[in-house]
């Protein structure tokens, strides 16, 4: 991973330019799919750049180091991951170079009765098995070679009980550890996802952190959520809850490979916090980061 950067934020077209021009941010995280349109080209789907949107994004954020955070690779789909993502990244690396690339450890396509890929509508977790670990590890290693920068996998949030498992893998932490060990990729540790799963499944997040390869955590996400129907949801709809800030403080002192922390919020909830509220979340993350990385911040 690159040298520690500090605090980052997503590239949100709906926010004032000032957020990206100020000293508030040390890097920006871009979801490449937002700046592309998926189109059928000669019988195959491709991500075609939305030139206008990309140019605006580069004008706003191009002065900051950049990380790519994809959402449509579906790295865990047994029938194959979504290859157009990789072509898009290869092209983008030449156009707007990024320091690392991250994706989610889940699947969101499966095969239908006719053997055609079908979207599941939301991401689903992988069962913690050797087969899943081997499949994703091989793909992760390939991606890392292809894009030429560190590749990080994000721990998922989900609400499904009793996923089928292999005893030597055990659970989501065993699965991630196995993939990281087999592939050489890193982890994007989403502390809000961890907090959600801990809350909904009744385990202690600090105990879980003890089982995570913190020496392979390159980036951390924090976010807000809300309760619905008895579940705590990873809704990305507001401020980061206090227990997640505590987890960040706990983790940063134990993650030697870390490059940055990103506060996540969905576009539709930006007005709820407003530009000032978002700045406060970023400043809070910065304060915790600075406590653990005073030299990097001063530089």
């Amino acid at each position: 991973m690159p040298a520690p950067l500090g605090v980052g934020f997503g590239c949100h077209p709906g926010l004032p330019d000032a957020i990206y021009m100020s000293d508030l941010l040390d890097f920006v995280e871009v979801t490449p799919e937002v700046f592309h349109r998926e189109q059928r080209v000669q019988g195959r789907f491709e991500f075609v750049p939305d030139r206008k949107a990309l140019d605006i994004a580069r004008r706003r954020c191009g002065n900051l180091p950049m990380a790519m955070h994809g959402v449509s690779l579906s790295i865990g789909s047994a029938h194959g991951m979504y290859e157009p993502c990789l072509s898009m990244l290869e092209r983008l690396q030449g156009e707007w170079p990024f320091a690392w690339y991250s994706e989610h450890l889940h699947f969101q396509t499966t095969l239908d009765a006719q053997g055609q890929p079908a979207n599941t509508g939301i991401p689903f977790p992988l069962p913690p098995t050797n087969e899943a670990a081997a499949l994703v590890a091989e793909r992760a290693a390939t991606i890392q070679r292809l894009v030429g920068v560190p590749f990080l996998l994000e721990n998922p949030v989900h609400y499904l009980p009793d996923l089928p498992s292999d005893p030597d893998i055990g659970d989501e932490f065993g699965l991630m550890a196995s993939i990281v060990a087999r592939s050489g990729c890193g982890q994007l540790l989403d502390l809000h996802n961890l907090y959600c799963n801990a809350t909904n499944f009744g385990f202690h997040p600090l105990a879980a952190l003890d089982r995570i390869r913190l020496d392979r955590v390159g980036e951390i996400h924090v976010a807000g959520g809300s309760w619905r129907d008895g579940f705590y949801m990873d809704a990305h709809d507001g401020a980061v809850p206090e227990p997640v800030w505590d987890l960040l403080d706990h983790t940063l002192s134990r993650a030697p490979w870390i490059t940055g922390v990103v506060f996540e919020i969905l576009d539709e909830y930006l007005p709820r916090l407003g530009a000032d509220g978002i700045a406060r979340q970023i400043e809070r993350a910065r304060g915790i980061w600075q406590h653990h990385h005073p030299i990097a911040m001063a530089a």
Binding site: T110, L111, N119, P127, A132, Y159, P164
Partner: protein
């Protein structure tokens, strides 16, 4: 784990279609909550994919169409652009004709088509003025109607169109700046008359340059 990853994922896929083969207990609160989150995501994605069309309909009708789309498996695309095309295709035969909603739907589809054509578009070299021409394969002409208090909706957040009369025509083509503009009466008449070429040569040349019409080969 007994069974393979592919079987597990196929089982989840079938469970989402309501078939009784779920590898997770379908009666568990976690699975039921997952289905509820999924429906909410699919609904939100559908509304986002065709917001302009839905907003031109009465609320009740709009909600009914979204529900019907979801029942048929809509709203699950990862790509909003693909969801947009799929939902517009679903809506097209179900919208009142004539209606503002139908015009917006057609304009959105026409814009998508022009956008696809624009990826590889270059104006043709002009041939003999009597050479036959046809409608461009990525071009469309869409009529829209407005009442005295209805503002015409721009199809993709671009600059607003200004209506001169209750019924106006918009040209969509891959060579047009912003991919669309209001059509003149002469252009609309010419489009209707195609493949006849009884039009001023200057008009034909300009429409060829913009991809509104093309040579047939």
């Amino acid at each position: 784990m007994s069974g393979t990853l592919a079987a597990f994922q196929a089982g989840i896929g079938r469970a989402l279609l309501g078939e009784a083969s779920c590898p997770i207990d379908p009666a568990s609160p976690g699975f039921r909550f997952t289905l509820s989150v999924r429906r909410s995501w699919c609904k939100g994605r559908s509304i986002m994919a065709a917001r302009a069309v839905l907003e031109a309909l009465p609320d009740e009708e709009s909600q009914r169409l979204v529900s019907e789309y979801l029942e048929q498996g809509g709203g699950s695309e990862v790509s909003l652009a693909i969801e947009n095309e799929r939902f517009l295709q679903f809506l097209l035969p179900r919208l009142p004709d004539p209606s503002m909603a139908l015009s917006i739907c057609r304009m959105n589809q026409a814009l998508n088509l022009a956008r696809r054509g624009a990826m590889n578009f270059s104006p043709p070299e002009l041939r003999n003025p009597d050479a036959p021409v046809v409608r461009g394969q990525y071009a469309s002409l869409v009529w829209y109607r407005t009442g005295p208090h209805e503002a015409p909706m721009p199809p993709a957040g671009e600059k607003s169109l200004s209506a001169e009369s209750p019924e106006s025509a918009v040209l969509f083509a891959p060579g047009l700046p912003n991919l669309f503009r209001l059509a003149s009466q002469a252009e609309a008449g010419f489009w209707r008359a195609l493949p006849a070429i009884d039009a001023p040569r200057g008009l034909i040349a300009s429409l060829l340059r913009d991809g509104v019409i093309e040579y047939p080969d």
